[in-house]
Symmetry: C2
Subunit: 187 residues, 2 copies
């Protein structure tokens, strides 16, 4: 049942298995491989700074023991605030696999994902996530990761970003149509 | 000082002002305009379902009282799990403005942003956020928004996605280089 859950092509929230359940999994890799994959993500992060192409972040996606996609932070060079290393790597990996789900994949990122990237990772539904630097390390060099984590945890009225709900009744029409749709592709 | 903080081109976490501080702002719009902008986001969300192009979500970005970009969910049609309506709208708006920051912009989204999209919004640093359907409404039609919010709030060891930190000491090299870099562009 565990394996079935991991590779199911339409895996959603209910299909995730807890961290601890992996300890006896045959799928766990040798630590040498894990380290070498992370070193590639770290190499990308250092290279990105040295070349002045973006923030000090790199990520790779691994499937069946092979790197299938890479990503570096390119927010300022691509004028895209969503172009963090993990998001770029996920997009590239999905293009390679021709799918919107990273079934059976591992993501290696040189820094603990920010809420945007962690959300992206959950939507991509990989098998495992490895990270190196922590979000506290990112805060120490003046990135907003910790601030955004704190904001997301607050009730909406207490957030620093002005946020207001309006017209819910009108918007529910789209959800009703989705529920009734016979042509939709769920994700 | 309030206005200066809002329009500062390199606005980061410290520059956000609280929800309540906007109540006396001259920048607050007439509610009729706000409703009409949201109706456009809702129209996009309904249209996306009817055309079978993706999930029931639409978003727009407004600047100086005009719509500068639109986005709809295109996860399954573009094979990109990050292609939620808000992310697509932010990317489009940044392309229009030729920048990686949505200074002075308002985002209207037909549903409360998931953690990925809320993170993207914080990184884009708009002035205001309006939403219609709630994340509970999204959960009711089987989307993972609430699940991901709950996962992000948990300690890493308790999350359902296997997550492990390794090689932090090696990865810190990139952060050290970033701190010392003279060619970096901060964001």
């Amino acid at each position: 049942m565990l394996i079935a859950a991991i590779v199911h092509p339409e895996r959603k929230s209910k299909d995730y298995v807890c961290n601890g359940m992996y300890s006896h999994s045959k799928k766990i890799m040798m630590s040498k491989d894990v380290s070498e994959f992370m070193r590639e993500a770290i190499r990308l992060s250092i290279n990105n700074v040295e070349e002045g192409k973006g923030g000090p972040f790199g990520a790779i996606v691994v499937k069946d023991g092979k790197i299938i996609a890479r990503g570096v932070n390119q927010v300022t060079t691509s004028n895209d605030p969503t172009a963090h290393a993990e998001v770029v790597a996920i997009r590239n990996a999905c293009a390679v696999l021709n799918t919107f789900q990273l079934d059976g994949c591992e993501i290696y990122t040189s820094c603990e994902p920010c809420p945007m990237c962690l959300g992206a990772i959950y939507w991509a539904r990989p098998l495992k996530l490895f990270y190196a630097n922590s979000k506290e390390d990112a805060t120490a060099i003046n990135f907003d990761d910790q601030f955004i984590y704190e904001e997301i945890a607050k009730p909406i009225a207490e957030r620093k970003l002005f946020t207001q709900q309006i017209l819910r009744e009108e918007a529910l029409e789209a959800f009703k149509k989705w529920s009734e749709s016979t042509i939709k592709t769920e994700y």
